[in-house]
Structure formats: C-alpha cells, structure tokens
Symmetry: C2
Subunit: 316 residues, 2 copies
Amino acid sequence: MYIGVDIGGTAIKAGIVDESGDIVKKKETATNVHRGYEAIEKDIIDLISDLKKEVEEKGNTVKSIGIGIPGIADVNHDIVIYCTNLKWRNVPLGKNLKEHFNLPVYIENDATVAGLAEAVKGSTKGYKNSLFLTLGTGVGGSIIINDKIFNGSHGIGSEIGHMIVGENFYDCNCGNNGCLETFASATALIKYTKKLIKEGYKDTIIMDKIDGDLDKLNAKIIFDSAKEGDELANKSVDRMVKYLSIGIGSLINIMDPGIIAIGGGISKAGEFLLDKIREEVPKYVIFNEVKFADIVIAQLKNDAGIIGAAMLHNFM
Amino acid sequence: MYIGVDIGGTAIKAGIVDESGDIVKKKETATNVHRGYEAIEKDIIDLISDLKKEVEEKGNTVKSIGIGIPGIADVNHDIVIYCTNLKWRNVPLGKNLKEHFNLPVYIENDATVAGLAEAVKGSTKGYKNSLFLTLGTGVGGSIIINDKIFNGSHGIGSEIGHMIVGENFYDCNCGNNGCLETFASATALIKYTKKLIKEGYKDTIIMDKIDGDLDKLNAKIIFDSAKEGDELANKSVDRMVKYLSIGIGSLINIMDPGIIAIGGGISKAGEFLLDKIREEVPKYVIFNEVKFADIVIAQLKNDAGIIGAAMLHNFM
C-alpha cells in the first residue's frame, strides 16, 4: 500500500492507495495557510500516521509516501524550495517525513502528480509520452517521457504555464509578458472578458447572468454563454483557444507527445472546448500532415492528486 | 566501423567513423538538387560503397549506415517524408539503402544528428539531457533525453525553430507568424537589419562595409559592426537575442535541460553573442534562483553531420 498526500491552499487531502492505483481510504483537513509551516507539517504527519495505522491494522505495510505540492521541491525530495500560495520557502518537509516515518518520501509539483495519475489510470494511459495541462487559476503542466515523470535536469521543468506564446495586455505574476498562463487560465479568460465589457462591449447575455456585477464573473458563465452563441463570450473563448493552441502547437513541434490531456476547472467545458482546440492546433503544427498528438479531456478529477502522489515511487 | 552521410543542399558528405566517433576518412560530392532523387540516391550509394570497400579492405566491417537529412523520415527510417530544400517527398531512401547494403540504416534530421555529435564528442558531452540549437538560414533543434535522441512519439519533434515566441513583422515560410526561426536565424537578422535601413536608419558603419548594396549584407557583417559599437547593428542583434532568449527561457521552463548548445553560422559570433544570451535568458526562466541549464557554443563544426549520422545506431 502507498500513501498519497495532495497539499492545496484550501485542504490537505490524503489517501491510502493500493498497487493498482485505487484509493482505499481518504482523509482530509483544512490547510489554513496563515498558521505557517510547522503547524501544517504537524497536520500532514498526523494524517499520514492515521492512515498508516489503518494499513498496518489490516496486516499490510506502507511502502512509500508521495506528496503533491503547489510548488517545487529539490531533486532529492528533501526540501520544498517554493510554494508561493502556501508562503513556503526552503522548508524541510521531505527530510522531516523521511525521518519521522523511516520510509521513502517523494515530493512533486501538483500538476506533475495529476499528470502521472492520468498516465497510470486516466486519459493518457497506454501512451509512452504524454503531456498534461491543467487550466485553472493558473496553468500547470506535467510531462511523461518513456513512462516516467520528466521534469528535467534540475527539477524545474514542466512549467508549461510560463512558456511565452504571444504578447498580452497585462503581465504575468512571474514578471514576464505573454506567458501561456495569461491567455489560457480561468483568470485570464475572466480578465479579458471584463476588459471587453469595460471597453463598452455590453450587448451580452453575460451581463444578465452576473446581474451586472463583474465580480460574479467566472469561467463557467463565460463558457455557458459561448455555448448559447453569445458573441462576446465566443470572442473571449476563441482568443483563449488561439493562444492555448499556439502553446500546444509549439509543444508538439518541440516534444511530439503521443497524447495531450487538458484538465483543471476550464476542462469542464468538455467537448465544446475540445472541438475548438482540435480545429485550431493543426495550424501551428509544422508537420501536420503526419499523425500527431491526440488531444483529450483529463478523466480523473479531484482524486488525481492523491493517486498520482501515491504512485510517485514507481515513476521517478 | 560506421558510415555517416550528411546530405545538404550543396554537398553530400560521407565518412568512415570509428567506435569512438573519430572520422577516419571523408569523401564528398556535389548534391546538384535539380537532378532529382534517383540520381542523388545513386551518388549516395556510390559514396557509401567506396567507403565500405575501404573499410573491408582493411579487414574491418561496417556495422551500420547513418544519414542526416534536411527534413524528416518515418520512424522506421525507411521513407524520407519531406526534404523541402531537396524537393523530396516520400522517397524510399532508407528502404533502398537497407536492401542494397543489407545493413541497419538510420535516417534522422540534420540538426538532430549534429546535436547527437555534440552530445557524443562535443560541447554537451557528459550531460544526460541536452538541447542543441542551430542558428543558420533557418533554426533547427535537437533534443537528447537520458542520453538518447528524443524526437517524440511520431518522429516530428525537436522542430524548435517553429515554436512561436512573439509577433513578427513578416510570416514564417511555414505560414505562421512569430516562429523562433523568424527572429533568431541569420535570415531573420538580415531581414530586420534591412528593414531598419530601408526605414531610414542609415547612420551605420554597415553601409560602408556593404558599399551601400543591401544584397551584400550578411550575419557576419552585422555581428562585426555590433562588436564595433554600431548602434543599428546592436539594435538588430539585441532584438535577435531577446527573442532567442524568450525561446531558450521557454525551453528551460518546459524541459529543463542540463545544457543548451548554440551552433550554426550565427554561433561564429562566439562569446559576444553568448554573453548577451546569458544575460537575457534568466529573465524568462521561472525558477531562475535555482541552478538551470548551462549555455555554450557548439564545438564540432562541419564534421558534426558525419559523426552524428554515424553514431545514430547507438542513440535511438
């Protein structure tokens, strides 16, 4: 048995996962970021201890612990180098867990972990080389090459949200202009739609759906309106699809994966989004007369973090 | 012994290469593209036959044949799918060579082959994961992952010249706008410099060096003028470096290679170019406080094609 932990800004979710990647038992607790690292580490240890006890009570053993974090860890999985949302910087999470439990501990970026789960049990299963893009508040990425997680020589790869794909009207949080994240995240979609409305583009059903209150705008409302044929909503979605497809096209030109899965909140737009992406991407693929990557919606939703984290032991 | 063949628009170069990647003997002939595929294939067979005979006369055997082409081949190395410059499309080069010589035949893109040579005997030797960018008439790329050539699931990867890095004043030959090739090739550098001069930017030592004849302009003249402090030349070079660095930065964010080598005609600008790139790239690397890829100038010049092609057998 394996234990997987998915650390997010809102909740810490942990689970017992069996050899085939199925979750046997789940437990979670609120993150409460403001408490700071030590208190959160204690809760993580408590969650893992409880689950480990359950495993052992049934006569089984825990073989390893895997953790997904919204940031990056060092290549030895000892130190979490950055977790912007959690305000962690150089915290010894892996080191402390290894010492406490005397078990192998693997720490990886949460998008990487979710992409691994898709490769083991989800939408990209059966493909040797795959990419996973999570389109949510930001844009995260995961790369599987030859059935293993690939995050480069220093562990800083697969930051697909920060590939530059064009020029944008606002800068990315990272300081650069034109990051994929500033075109293809939910945040970006909302920002551009608000911009158009503020510039006078008011003949839209979106205004009814949000009672004229721009603070109520979200990606679902924009996609729903686009599906209903709203001009403004389609303008926003099409712009997003254009730059997302430039990014995907460049990734195909560079890495030529067997399959690309789209996850995260935006992926709930489903076939409507997928049809548009599949139509747009070939324009940017240089050898588009040859077979290239399949593009699909990710399958595993909220459980991907726990499953992927638990599976890390076998795919590093 | 191995035979490596480097097929270019001007010459077909072939060589006998020993186990350690050293060229023992070279032979070449003019390509004369206009003759068409069959005549060129015959010359390739003749070149290989001559070299094979020499190897056998010394009591050795040829273990495999490797070919570098300015295009792409199918994953079985039977058919050359495209070679734009040679006007080849779906020609059975690999199939015919395999039948003729009854030896393993490997066909790869010329940039991929040159990148492999750098990894085996040149600037990227000793790094498990490396990228090679060749900046010449166009921009080519080569990716080595875990000490093997990586060109994806359908053999269409490593087309780094066609990743989109911005918006440009002219379209790429591929039909898209903003390809790295349209910013970072010699062609792009010349095109932008001509544009500035035509727009009235005439206070430049470049005009003396080319006797006022824009047709005489080349990348060397622009770099030489930049080194001498010419404002126009530096404006051109800096723009090239900016977009090249956006491309390299994105590649680091995605793939995090151990090292990136710059080859091709533009790389003759040496340390002058390298200093500028090394200063600019960190701006676009998201985790730039952690160690990231070394950036160097490629070492093997004209021989890279033969050496890399001959080494293909061991790195696929």
